[in-house]
């Protein structure tokens, strides 16, 4: 019986090739999109969970409550101390960032950004696939270095990496292990791991880290089964020495599995926090796409149901029961789903490199994972059921009566359902069009909004601390002054200034150190701080609202401050503002100027209170403004200078524009992904509409013939054939608009500064949907309207 079903199904697919093509193409594209999205979602949801005992692994979070800082790091001694004091803790491990280091191989320097120092328990906590070397022997030599496969290949090509020497600063390391590249769902995307022992063997480093004052280590704890993480977290503060330190610190534990979506850390530069919102958005989008694609199949199948009435009736007359017919149609849907799935697997394979680029995740071949096959199985099941059940029920319940009449006259009374499904499809599509337009507008707004300073043709480089080590403030100041003058000698350099950090995304903040006259001391605002030299305002083109900027060569100004407008307002500084006493970071001076508010963080955040100081001790970054068109020369000049100052370090620089782009990397990725999948959703919906329009035209062949004979023009007929569908699309626009409005309102709430939800966006999206629908339908309508009426009437 199954053979017979499959035969009929297969031959029918072939006979109605164009309809089959539309169903299968839509389904394959929908399934491919859904599968890729679910792969991404699964990857996001499974971060770090592949590690052994991930459910018992936690990381300590430190809350420095006085200054309102939340850190993912704690002092080095914490790990050993908590383990000793708390029996609930089975094991601990530490990882420390290396900062920017450079590999010295042969005669060349290579900057390496993704490096960390690890202690000897690291591999007990985190899983690595060792290709060469092993975790046990790795720590035998403190100067061991571990590389990922691609890093090893980058440096040593096909040569064996093990045993190769790499110099970092003045220390020689040896490659002791090579591991497979980190999986895409690992929070630790380090290319290089170095034994922590080597770092601590430097007495100065050890002295710096062995205290409870420096929070440099991410410390992970493995709790014993059944241990209460809340209790453990509460006990951590107890290991810290009681001191008169005003900084009060409390601790919490975050589960390894939750770490990926962690938010609220004060300084989260190294790890981009993922957004659980995006995960939800894309999960829904994945289901949408699958449903849209299935709707095509259901619509095309049920639309053609009357054609199948004959077959169903004959089968019934001959003895087929409902169950047998039901299984026949389910089997047919399975066949279509299976064909689509095979195409899907090929498409997934082909689109994976693009998807990797889009998501910036290094997915390995998904077909090698059991999860993917489970997902494929589930998708197949979902598609088969979504596709199969309704048509199967509908077709199986046909009454075969009319078969005796020779022609089937069955009226399929499911037109409302088919219309409903088209409305649903287009509602999704319109929703996506509106969202895409709004997201795109917000992205443009971000890119084009004047942040209140100029970041164009501006690059920066950070001088290594080593060259200013041991220098007095005056010596440092004169060093920066020399650097500045040196750079300004070049015609390619338009300006140069020194500051403590980049203005694009100010990270450094402090709460509790600011004081002024009339200050209510219970008010401890978080204040963003930046140390800038007297040239900063002009190079960055920051606007003054009142007063003046720091003057060159003014010793007095080194203790003065410039605040932004928000700070003046929030602090309720007495008027006249200028000349008011201000104390900050232990230094007391006057407020000499107020700058107009500018955006020193992403537009997700409201402009906060900000203080400029002029303390040269804080500064180590040089900002260079280049003359238009002379950037390469300016870079060469900076590099030449660098090579004189720090010949043993590679010259690294970053353009402020680039840094700005980093701020919205996630938003842009989201926007691109939404855009791509919107186009796909609309395309699939159009495939369905195209099929339905073709079918409607075909069904009305006789009517069209008669109307033509009676004098209808092509225009009349196209209108006749299109109106029904366009009404549905209009209804979709009406349903989708408020839903999209609400959703986008929610999304925009994540931005402190955002575009308004203007009515024209909805009008534009609606018109686009209508236009797309008209184009889709009119092809079929025109074809039908222009056909020969004599032929049409004869076919009846």
């Amino acid at each position: 019986m199954i053979k017979n079903f499959l035969q009929t199904a297969w031959r029918r697919l072939w006979q109605y090739r164009s309809a089959s093509f539309l169903s299968i193409a839509g389904l394959s594209i929908g399934m491919t999109s859904a599968l890729l999205i679910f792969l991404w979602v699964q990857n996001e949801m499974s971060y770090d969970s592949y590690n052994p005992q991930a459910d018992r692994t936690y990381r300590i979070t430190a809350y420095l409550t006085n200054v309102k800082w939340v850190w993912a790091t704690v002092p080095l001694p914490t790990a050993a101390a908590v383990q000793q004091k708390m029996p609930e803790i089975e094991k601990t491990t530490n990882i420390r960032g290396t900062g920017n280091i450079a590999f010295h191989i042969g005669n060349e320097y290579f900057p390496e950004k993704k490096c960390a120092y690890i202690d000897s328990n690291w591999f007990d906590f985190f899983h690595y696939d060792f290709l060469e070397g092993n975790p046990k022997n790795f720590f035998n030599d403190p100067f061991s270095i571990l590389l990922t496969e691609s890093t090893a290949k980058k440096y040593f090509g096909s040569r064996e990496a093990i045993g190769q020497a790499i110099q970092i600063d003045t220390i020689n390391y040896r490659v002791a292990a090579v591991v497979k590249d980190n999986p895409a769902n690992s929070s630790f995307q380090f290319d290089v791991l170095i034994s922590l022992q080597s770092y601590l063997s430097n007495p100065a480093a050890f002295k710096n880290d062995a205290t409870y004052n420096n929070y440099n280590y991410r410390t992970f704890l493995r709790l014993r089964p059944g241990a209460n993480p809340k209790k453990v977290a509460a006990g951590i503060a107890g290991v810290f020495p009681q001191s008169g330190n005003a900084t009060k610190t409390t601790f919490d534990l975050i589960s390894l599995k939750d770490m990926h979506f962690e938010t609220g850390l004060t300084n989260q530069n190294d790890i981009q926090p993922a957004s659980i919102k995006s995960v939800y958005i894309f999960s829904v989008l994945g289901v949408f796409l699958l449903v849209i694609a299935c709707i095509n199949y259901v619509n095309l199948t049920t639309a053609r149901a009357s054609r199948r009435a004959k077959e169903v009736s004959i089968r019934k007359v001959i003895g087929a029961g409902k169950a047998s017919l039901f299984s026949q149609f389910i089997l047919e849907s399975l066949l279509v789903s299976l064909i689509s799935l095979i195409i899907t697997i090929i498409l997934v394979r082909l689109s994976l490199p693009l998807f990797r680029q889009l998501t910036e995740k290094n997915f390995t071949d998904p077909l090698l994972h059991l999860f993917t096959w489970k997902l494929i199985g589930l998708t197949l099941l979902a598609a088969t059921l979504l596709n199969g059940i309704y048509p199967a029920l509908m077709l199986a319940s046909f009454k075969p009566l009319s078969v005796f009449k020779g022609l089937n006259v069955l009226k399929v009374k499911d037109a409302w359902l088919r219309k409903g499904l088209v409305v649903l499809q287009f509602t999704f599509s319109v929703l996506l069009i509106i969202s895409t337009i709004i997201i795109q507008r917000q992205m443009n707004y971000i890119q084009s909004l004047d942040p209140g300073y100029s970041r164009s043709q501006l690059f920066s480089f950070t001088l290594p601390w080593s060259i200013s080590k041991g220098k007095s403030e005056t010596e440092r100041e004169s060093m920066f002054s020399d650097v500045r003058h040196e750079l300004l000698k070049y015609t390619s350099v338009a300006g140069a200034t020194a500051a403590s950090q980049s203005i694009v995304n100010l990270q450094s903040s402090n709460a509790g150190s600011a004081d002024w006259d009339g200050h209510d001391t219970s008010f401890r605002p978080t204040v963003f701080q930046l140390s800038a030299d007297p040239y900063y305002k002009d190079v960055l083109q920051i606007q003054l609202a009142q007063g003046r900027w720091f003057q060159p060569d003014s010793k007095l100004d080194q203790h003065n401050f410039v605040l932004n407008e928000t700070a003046i307002k929030d602090f309720k500084i007495h008027t006249p503002v200028l000349g008011q006493r201000f104390t900050f970071q232990g230094d007391t001076g006057q407020i000499i100027g107020v700058v107009k508010d500018f955006h020193f963080a992403s537009l997700h955040k409201r402009i906060g209170d900000m203080v400029f100081m002029n303390n040269p001790g804080w500064r180590n970054t040089i900002f260079v403004k280049t003359q238009a068109g002379k950037t390469p020369q300016a870079l060469a000049a900076a590099k030449a200078l660098w090579q004189r100052l720090a010949p043993d370090k590679p010259f690294e620089y970053i353009f402020q524009d680039e840094q700005f782009d980093q701020l919205y990397k996630d938003d842009r990725r989201l926007s691109t992904m939404i855009w791509v999948f919107s186009v796909i959703a609309i395309f699939i919906s159009c495939l369905g509409l195209f099929g339905l329009a073709a079918f409607a035209a075909e069904q009305r062949t006789k009517e069209i013939g008669i109307r033509k004979v009676l004098g209808a023009t092509v225009g009349n007929l196209v209108t006749l054939l299109s109106t029904d569908f366009l009404r549905l699309v209009l209804l979709s626009i009406l349903i989708a608009s408020p839903v999209a409005g609400w959703l986008m309102h929610q999304w925009l709430q994540d931005f402190a500064y955002h575009v308004p939800l203007s009515a024209w966006i909805f009008l534009l999206a609606g018109s686009m949907a209508l236009l797309i629908a008209i184009l889709t339908i009119s092809f079929q309508a025109l074809k039908a309207a222009r056909s020969n009426p004599v032929k049409n009437l004869r076919t009846e």
Binding site: M1, N4, Q7, T8, R11, R12, Q15, K310, E311, S313, I314, R315, K316, V317, I318, G319, A320, G321, K322, S324, K399, P400, L401, V403, F404, K405, G406, L407
Partner: protein, 225 residues
């Protein structure tokens, strides 16, 4: 074999009620060949639907081999139908996607007959209908007469006790029509009961008895043999 008495059936649309069968009674004995004639709309098709267990009557009784089947549920009717009744239609009603062999095989599949036996039985029937050489062709590739022979083959492959034929020669030329009528006569001679709806006096003459219908009732019965 068939005994119907006081059979009633009416159709309702929104405004009009049409009485299709009006207290219709007659009997068909085992081995009989009966023709039903009458003008369009007299209720012939409705009668055939009910006899074929494709539709229920609104009232009256329908005894099939002595069992009251008028109010059988769908499943029971389907079961009775597939074991006892074969159908031949004016428009052949072959499934376009299946070959001649597969079309004829279909009733046996639904009866649960195993593959090798199916093959053998289908071949016997195709041979008998002289259509064996066309076994791998699709219906569209056959002439009308050949298609109707396939339809007859399909109707008889499960050895039904009753064949219901709805204008079996309506779409055929006279020579093909005669061939089909001869086939039915042969089947009847081998013991199969046949009820045939027809407009053709010529075809009706192949049967033993003609029931003439008008407005849902029998008006006359002509016994021919």
């Amino acid at each position: 074999m068939i005994k119907i008495s006081e059979l009633q059936k009416s159709y309702r649309t929104e405004e009009v009620e049409t009485i299709a069968l009006n207290r219709l009674s007659f009997e068909v004995k085992e081995g009989e060949f009966v023709s039903v004639m009458g003008p369009s709309g007299c209720g012939k098709s409705t009668l055939l639907n009910i006899l074929g267990l494709l539709d229920d009557p609104d009232g009256g009784s329908f005894l099939f081999n002595g069992t009251e089947v008028a109010h059988f549920n769908e499943r029971k009717r389907a079961d009775l139908r597939k074991r006892n009744i074969g159908f031949v239609f004016q428009s052949f009603n072959l499934i376009d996607e299946l070959t001649v062999f597969e079309n004829v095989e279909l009733p046996l599949i639904y009866l649960g007959v195993k593959g090798p036996e199916r093959k053998q039985r289908v071949e016997v029937v195709l041979d008998k209908m002289q259509i064996m050489h066309r076994r791998n062709h699709y219906p569209q590739q056959l002439s009308g007469g050949q298609q109707q022979r396939v339809a007859v083959a399909r109707a008889v492959v499960n050895n039904p006790k009753l064949i219901l034929a709805d204008e079996p020669t309506g779409n055929l030329d006279s020579s093909n029509g005669n061939e089909v009528m001869q086939l039915l006569t042969d089947l009847n001679e081998q013991g199969t009961t046949i009820v045939m709806v027809t407009h053709s006096e010529h075809d009706a003459r192949y049967s033993h008895r003609i029931i003439r219908m008008l407005d849902g009732q029998t008006v006359t019965e002509n016994i021919l043999v």
